[in-house]
Every structure is written in C-alpha cells, then in structure tokens.
C-alpha cells in the first residue's frame, strides 16, 4: 500500500516510531506523482533533490516533522519557480524569498514539495485558465477539478499529495475541494499571513489547506496561522490548538440554513445530497433552523467589482522590467509595457484587468466601486445578524457538480455566477470549510458534492468541531 493513502496523523506515527523515514515518504510521494501526474496534470514542477535534502535534516519530533506538503504555484518558496499559472512568470522568475506561511510550515517540520497548477493568477473556478497545462478531476478525468486551486484539490484527491496549500479569494480552496471530494478550508481573513502570496485581491485573499480529512486540515491550520508584521492586515490574535476540538459532539449546536442558498440554480441532486447531510447533522444533535442572508444575490456582483478592481492595481506590477516576461519587439517604453503585458497575460486575466480598470476609472468609480463597497457592508451585516441566532451556517459549496472540461469556456458570466455560495465568506472575511458530502450519479460519472460550514470570524474551533463531527458521524 502506498503511504500516500494515509492521513497526516497516521504518517506522523510511522515517522516518530522510525517505521519510515522522511526521505522514504518524500520518495513515495514522488513515485506517486511520476505515475499519476501525467494523467492528472496537478503538478507543474517538483524538485525531488531539494525535498530529499530537507528530509535528511527533518526533525520528526516536530508537529509536522518530515511531512511533504504540496504548494499552489502562487506562494513563494525561495529558489523555486512560482508561475501563478501564467506565461508572464513562467520565464524570468525564481522566487527570491519565502512566504511566511511556508516559513511557519517549515518551523513545524514540514517540507514544501511540488508546485501545483492553478487558474492564472487564481482567476477562475476550473483551472482551465492556466497557461501551463490541463488539470483533471480524479473522480472523472474528462471533468474540471474546480479552481482556482485545482492542482491542489486534484493532487490531494488523486493520492499524489498528502496535503496541499491553496489560496481562496472567492472560493478557490473550497470549491475545488468540493468538486474533487476532499476537505478545503479558508481561515478568517488575517489569520494567515499573505506575505509571499502573489496578490490577486488583497482584501479577500487567504491561504489555507486542502486535505483528505478535517483532522489533517486542523493540524495544518495550527501551523499556518499567526501574526506577521510583514502583512499589515495580519491579526494579532492567539492561535488555539484546532485539533483539541476534534471529537467533541455537536449536541445543541445551532446551525442555520440560509434560505437564499437553496435556489433555482442549485442542481437538484446536489440539493438532495446536501439535505441528506443536514439530516445527519440533526441526527447528531444539532439544532437546525432556517435563517436569511437577504443580500446573498448581490454577492456575485459585489465581488466581481471589488476583486477585479484590486487585481487591476495588483497586477500593474507586471511591467516586464523587474521580473517576468519582457517583449522582444518593443521600440519604446510604452510599447514595452503594452507588449510585455499583452503577450504575458491570458484572456481571463486581461478580462479582469479591463473590468477592474473600468470600474475604477474616472466617472465610474462611484457607480461601481463605491457602490460595491457599500454592498459589501450589507453582506457583512447579514452574517453579523445571523450569528446572533446561530453558531454555524451550513450550505452547499457549489451549486453544480464538476463540469466537463471546456463546458463553460467563453461564458464568463455563467462561470462567475457559480461562485455564489463561496463568495460571501470572503466578502465578510469569515472562516469556512468544505467537507465531502457524498457523490451523485451524473452523466455516467459519480461526482463529489461538498457541504460548506461558515462560522463567525476567528471561530475556526467551532468550524472544525462541526465539520469533524459531520465527517466521522
């Protein structure tokens, strides 16, 4: 049996009793990658020698000692590539520094190993916007893995990574986890330092784990969080041991079902799975009640004003001067900018830069950007009110199962609308997790469905408690 099918806790046991070494584990993961990655396309690159070197000196007594963790290709690890799935960074870029989240993982003994494919600059929900290759869903190879952390979810669900890091701006951890059948968790905004995460929308981006179990996610989250003076939005909050709540029952826990999340666009089989999951939570002793988040419908429009606006500013740094693609055919400085950027960015990134530039431009700022910032307040207030009545909000993660590759290309609005259930937690800065909730038979395939849990800010403990009770219950 391959070691890659075991949980992080089981592997910890084998490492500390010296049944296996960290190098054995790294080699085992590498063999799994070599065997399956040509089909899945989850990894873009992996540096076995560098990982083996770290494995040599790994302190297996540390909480993550000797565990290789795969990394989404937008988080910097010094000396490694960091392409963001883009042509613009595929040449002329080797990370010159290491992200704080990676430093924290290393501090706990983990080994960052392998770079995972993603939608270009994390813009997309299918990984089809990567300029660097196709990633497939292990549950059905002709289908998308979701995105933007599609490589992360595909590698973990496909058994070629023990666990992975993703980033979540509008659902990019939770949605691919749901579509591939694994666990994906977005911490409270500000819990995990964004230093070294290549920015998409700075007020929404957050790093988090994609794993095969809630317990593994809790363990990794313990070692991702913490105040970092290099991220001005980092929260000065103590980090509890999130694994301490695992196994606690959920008797009397108040769970709210937002009525606005059970809508026409929700696939009937997905809804049936989710309803079954909710019945299970009730059987475990939770108190279920319907709640209202009245401004849910405005979420997509709000997000697709704010996120592209922030992206258009963040991506201005790609100028072909300091790093990244530089056009060979420019004659003056303006042409240099125009050509370097136009040759380097793919269609979805261009679309969002154009949209963001438009909504920030003179004459439109008040109509779109300011309006969206105000709508964001209403969406946040909806949650504040809801959490006066309930401890946890539960919903589907995605309204549909995984689409076939190519199905939504050319219809960006339809693709955007499918982020409807994941976007609000980003706008409100709340922690949220997607947990597998059965599969549905759909067009000849068995496709995973995800159940999303949301709690109030900084209450990841309750999030893990509820998600774990659901998973094992």
């Amino acid at each position: 049996m391959s070691l890659t099918s075991l949980s992080l806790t089981e592997l910890r046991q084998k490492l500390t009793t010296k049944e296996i070494s960290a190098a054995d584990l790294v080699r085992d993961v590498a063999s799994a990658i070599e065997a399956r990655n040509p089909v899945l396309g989850a990894y873009l690159t992996w540096d076995l020698d560098a990982a083996l070197k770290e494995a040599e000196t790994a302190d297996v007594t540390q909480p993550l000692g000797g565990l290789p963790i795969a990394i989404k290709d937008n988080i910097n690890v010094e000396g490694q590539p960091c392409t963001c799935g883009s042509k613009i960074l595929a040449e002329n870029y080797t990370a010159p520094y290491t992200a704080t989240a990676i430093q924290n993982l290393r501090q706990a003994g983990a080994i960052p190993f392998g770079r995972l494919n993603m939608d270009e600059f994390a813009m997309g929900s299918s990984t089809e916007n990567s300029a660097l290759g196709v990633t497939r869903n292990p549950a059905a190879l002709d289908r998308i893995p979701g995105g933007s952390s599609g490589g992360s979810a595909s590698s973990v669900a496909g058994g070629i990574a023990l666990a992975a890091l993703g980033s979540d701006t509008g659902g990019s951890i939770r949605q691919p986890a749901a579509l591939c059948g694994c666990v994906g968790m977005k911490p409270t905004y500000g819990r995990v330092s964004r230093f070294g995460l290549i920015a998409f929308a700075s007020s929404l981006d957050q790093i988090g784990p994609i794993t095969r179990s809630v317990a593994d996610a809790a363990l990794l989250t313990n070692h991702l969080c913490g105040f970092d003076p290099r991220d001005s939005t980092s929260l000065k909050e103590s980090v509890p041991d999130f694994t301490a709540v695992l196994g606690r029952d959920i008797k009397g826990l108040r769970i709210g079902l937002p009525k606005e999340y059970f809508i026409d666009g929700l696939h009937p089989d997905v809804e049936a799975s989710v309803r079954k999951g909710i019945a299970k939570l009730e059987a475990l002793g939770a108190h279920i009640e319907e709640i209202s988040l009245p401004h849910t419908e405005a979420g997509v429009a709000t997000y697709y004003v704010l996120a592209p606006a922030e992206a258009s500013a963040n991506l201005a740094r790609f100028d072909g001067v300091r790093y990244g693609h530089r056009s060979a055919s420019a004659n003056d400085l303006m042409e240099h900018y125009l050509k370097s950027r136009s040759e380097g960015f793919g269609p979805e990134v261009k679309r969002r830069i154009l949209l963001g530039t438009y909504v920030l431009s003179s004459g439109y700022y008040d109509a779109y950007y300011l309006q969206a910032q105000k709508a964001r307040t209403l969406i946040r207030d909806d949650f504040t009110k809801a959490f006066e009545k309930v401890d946890v909000i539960v919903s589907p993660t995605s309204p549909t199962p995984a689409h076939k590759l190519g199905e939504l290309i050319g219809d960006p609005l339809q693709a955007y609308l499918e982020d409807v259930f994941t976007i609000p937690a980003n706008l409100a800065g709340l922690p949220a997790i997607s947990v597998p909730c059965g599969t549905i038979a759909h067009e000849g395939a068995n496709l995973p469905v995800g159940l999303q849990f949301i709690t109030k800010a900084l209450d990841e403990a309750t999030l893990f408690q509820a998600a774990h009770a659901f998973e094992v219950g």
């Binding site: 072909g320 790093y323 990244g324 136009s342 154009l354 438009y358 105000k374 709508a375």
Partner: protein, 95 residues
C-alpha cells in the same frame, strides 16, 4: 442589447494592454454582459451605508522608521529580464 457602452480602447490603454480589433470586440461584448449583471447593485438601497474596504477592523499599521534587512542588489536583479551596470534596463526614454 446592453445599456452599457465601454470605450474599450481607452480602458485597455489605461490598463497598459494592447488589444487587436477582434479582441476588443470580443472583450467589450463579454464585459457588457458582466456589467449588466452588476446593475443588481444599483437596485440596492445603499443610502446611509458606510463602504467596507476590509472585512475586519484593520487600522493603519506603523513601525519604527528603521533600516531592516532586505534584498541585496544581486538578489533584486536576479529575475530581471535585462540588466546592465547593476541596474534594471528599460527601453530608451530620453533622446
């Protein structure tokens, strides 16, 4: 037909993107559809609502104005597509 009209070439220039005529037509049509959807924001009653720029209260963060370790010149230049005399090289801007 969309109620919106974007001067796509002007926006592209502001964004420092070069679009072919085909691309301009294509992106303009897609953006019009997206902007139509964004009209849902105009239907909200937002009078008296404060804008949110960050979901959680984050205040101006300051630190002492002291030198800290940073990139060496070689590190800063390590990814430069073109450099000369230990500096980034750009196309000529002054005749």
């Amino acid at each position: 037909m969309s109620a919106h009209s974007i001067d796509i070439h002007r926006v592209a220039k502001l964004a420092r993107l070069e679009l072919s005529d085909d691309e301009a037509t294509h992106y303009a049509a897609q953006l019009h559809r997206v902007l139509d959807h964004m009209d849902t924001l105009a239907k909200l009653d937002l009078s008296g609502v404060e804008p949110t720029s960050h979901a959680l209260p984050v205040y101006d963060v300051v630190r002492p104005d002291e030198a800290r370790p940073g990139f060496s010149q070689a590190q800063a230049l390590s990814n430069a597509p073109k450099s000369v005399l230990d500096q980034f090289q750009i196309p000529k801007v002054i005749e």
